[in-house]
Point group: D2
């Protein structure tokens, strides 16, 4: 039985980890931490946990995780790195669900996140935890950087084309639509019900979003040369889910075989060749549906991918990484049918 | 391993049974049936099942369920009774998620449902499957009538007061708010997105809803004398969930101890004494939260209960009944944290 | 042309006043004030006003409204009373959309709102601005207390029965369902999109809500003796709308004629005798639909009423009052077809 | 006073025309027609019209519109053309809100709509009713083809760039997000509440949507040479609104002046240079907000436009065209503040 600690257990990603790990046969959550909410019973914070989680989270300190085999960190960017270092020094493995170890280049991190990187010495050992692309490295990792939600959906949409040299790298447009849980539980005007409901909003338009360098890093790695993309995130009036609609030029017309081949053995990626995905098709599950389509009129491909941002885009992918790191069945705790409707 | 058949597998309750039973350690679904959609792959009907359910449902016939230990039937009212009889004759136990066996009085069924009862000879052996009230009878049952969603939420809200003689039986008002999945997958104008979104609608006002006699039957049984209630169902723009706000007069002021005592050993009922429940607190789970409150100004009690209509109000309760009928742990397959947010 | 000032123009009620008054043939908005947001252009606060409102609101002071004929105040409770006094002294009429002048009894105000009443000397001249009940008094008023949203929907649901002595005053239950705009634009956890969407929540259960004494005051006035009610507000995942489902015992069976007679000449109240109302039927309009139904099984009436909380429950009713106060056509600026869907 | 007839008055566009025309000072609706719902009172079809529209729509025949000055047709494609011909012969002007006269090339119509064009002889006189681009032609028109909702939002997003030769015509990607009212009132599985809520769906991906040739026709006309675009429509869980996110390469960096200049005198187009639009910013109004942004990293422009699909995308634009055709103030009946929130 793996003993896992959760740092930042009282955000939406934290309680999603609690939900998923309760059904995991090989992992026991032995430590919970929070910040401003530390010390309050989970039930007072989350009505849905009434009667289910007795443990009140303590403050986020290194001592809180003594005895853990692994700590999953769902903390604001800049807050994970120092704690991660302490954990690694103590022989505890780390899965960071924040942004601190996602970008290989510390200068890029500092430019996009506008803070100094607290532990750039750890960057070389950090493995980018997208199992469909980097499974082998994850297996041996002690520090995994769990990918962002948008980059996960974007990478899985384009990887087969880019990896096979079939995408025009000068024509990459990624248009993403996200539910509001991606913005977390902290209140703000744009996530106020009356502002968000019944409305679609674009934000961070024209290369302003911090996930841009992350998804360019992955696509560049797949392409073998630096690529630039146009990426636009949108907020859609729903709680969970991300759809990325990806556009590129391509010389091949028959995209389904390419995708089916690429994802043949993936337990969580489903190629949709006949029908089109909707974000509701993956809610509550670690699954990603990908639908590649070719338009002969234009010579361009449109690829639609969907994930649940809190699962494959965060907590579920972290558990998938945990399973790989500890040699367990990759699907342990994650063999879930999506909640529908 | 129990072999279960699902009759009516392609409605919302059917696919919820598939979702929940996939995680059940002691049950295997060995037969699926449907009606108009029989023969089509599940993936063509439900995108979320792509890659998860290979079996295409066949037509709903007795032969389809040969070899099953139990059949769960999610069929329109009037359609279960005949099939149920055939199953019982073949030694197969039945859990009927429809209305055919809920009312003990066939004339009452015929008055409210406006069809002749196809098998009233089976009524005496049918057990009303609300485990919190009738657990012992369910254990020995061969035919269980799974309760309606509104009656489940109403009965759990009022049972402690009524059973203990603490409710004024001449002052029982039940105001329920339901998500739209209760109306099923068949399209209709009132469940058309643009008609339902952003709007609350009352329907079957003033004693018109077919669940009225069912909840009166349960409350009468608890009270030991016939009771009449005023019950109003409402449709709320959400997919899942039922809240029932119940009103009565009561002589006792301190309601929490009464409720906590009544539900002390119940694995799925949570009394909320400090904070108030919302339907979102139980989504995707078999849980029921109940919050009793007393108003000293008026001498009246207001009790708020919430369930997920597709789980505790349908598929989950059916599995809870199945577990009891087959001597398994009552929570097997149902030990789920609600999906939040 | 009446010159109107808006105090508190940057909340949801304030911008709804701006929307409705733009179409009013006899009123011009000549002064806008705000508090924390004073000085910022409306477009920076509300994208939907870009290009429509050039005026930036100033601070809320008496001087700001010099030259106005009337000031409409949409301020937090306790904040209107002092300003209202200054306005009245300056010969400017006041419509207060807040709670300060709704309760005739200052002690009741202080008990429920937990602040001292700043200007109880003004209470005698304040007229409760529910035109369907108090039209004549409003015509001559210099200070109108615009009713709360819940009390408006509740009073219109029950007035015909209570006024005619046809309601059992010991059996009055009001179950209301509201959209979230009633809670205003200030962010809070319960109105955070991910907390509110897909969920119904009860709050202020068992006589805790501040609108309770207000609606009891109106019903007591209609009944000619003090009455107590049980009132429960609920939050429903929608932006606008309130439905009140009212329950009472009644000796008469044929309710429609009573209601149609009572509301015969009302321009904004529609009795629904054939079909049932939904909140979506009145969105964006000053209309109220009321559907009374009798249940012969129980001898009880269920009456369903719907309004748009921001219009008939706030801004629209204020303009209706303004029209009456200034001798204009009562429907001026309010002859709007609801926005549907 | 212009006498207007509405053919197809009982769909969502029809009742939106009724809403808007009620507030129009120079137009009176003198004839209503419907098809399957003809003869039923509007109140039975639409609860929100109870007490507002007494007229029951008759069947859709030429005789129904005798005496009208203009007929607005909201009919399924293929159904308008014959009636339009009869109207024109009778000297009645026509605004067709359907697709029959939008494409100049009858073969293109037949290829995309898969029906023979019933009256291609009328195509030469049909004017494409996008006032911001074709105002002068509309003024003299007797037959106006009211644009589709997607093409309206797309054309207004890109017109300033394309018209000025500042868009790379080999890099035009249009990603649109629509509310569900665009799909009309006819029930279907994809617009069933439980299928649509909480989910984003892509459809008609990779050049399958019928609006593709229409928006290419407009952009080609602006560019002075044939252009091809990649267009993807998406369904978002909201009732009204379309956002189009348009992508192109451009040599100019400072886009706002270009857009502000292009739309300087437009009463309904608002350039958003500071803040970004959301569809909720235009709900219920004829307004279009457009926000052009340049990304120096990539040399590409992202332009976001929003409209209310039922107003600027249908009924409101039709009235704008009507105003132009009859020499009235272009904003008559349309000077509305959006409904917010």
């Amino acid at each position: 039985m793996i003993h896992a600690g959760l740092a930042g257990a009282t955000g939406y990603v934290g309680v999603e980890l609690l939900r998923l790990l309760r059904g995991h046969p090989g992992v026991q959550v032995t430590a919970l931490s929070a910040d401003s909410t530390a010390g309050r019973p989970m039930e007072a914070l989350y009505g849905h946990l009434a009667g289910l989680i007795d443990q009140a989270p303590g403050p986020t300190t290194a001592a809180a995780f003594e005895g853990c085999d692994v700590v999953l960190m769902a903390l604001p960017h800049g807050a994970s790195a120092a704690l991660a270092g302490e954990m690694l020094d103590a022989g505890i493995r780390v899965i960071d669900l924040g942004a601190d170890f996602r970008l290989k280049d510390a200068r890029s991190f500092e430019r996009w996140y506008e803070v100094e990187h607290p532990r750039q010495d750890l960057l070389p050992q950090a493995v980018y935890g997208l199992p469909e692309l980097y499974r082998d490295r994850i297996r041996g990792a002690r520090l995994v950087a769990n990918p962002g939600c948008y980059p996960t959906s974007a990478a899985l949409a384009l990887a087969p084309l880019v990896k096979n040299g079939m995408a025009d790298l000068d024509f990459l447009v990624l248009d993403s639509k996200s539910g509001l849980s991606g913005a977390g539980r902290k209140t703000s005007l744009f996530s106020h019900f009356c502002e968000a409901d019944g409305s679609v909003a674009a934000y961070a338009v024209a290369g302003q979003h911090r996930h841009t360098p992350e998804l360019e890093q992955t696509l560049s790695d797949l392409a073998g040369r630096p690529v630039r993309v146009t990426f636009t995130p949108h907020l859609v009036p729903m709680k969970r889910g991300i759809m990325t609609t990806a556009y590129t030029r391509t010389p091949i017309q028959d995209l389904s075989p390419l995708y089916e081949d690429f994802y043949r053995d993936e337990p969580f990626v489903q190629v949709r060749s006949e029908t089109l995905p909707a974000t509701g098709h993956v809610t509550g599950s670690n699954r990603c549906h990908v639908a590649p389509r070719f338009d002969a009129r234009t010579g361009r491909a449109t690829v639609v991918s969907v994930i649940d941002n809190l699962v494959k885009g965060a907590a579920g992918q972290a558990i998938q990484n945990l399973n790989l790191m500890f040699g367990m069945d990759e699907t342990a705790g994650l063999d879930l049918v999506p909640v529908y409707p």
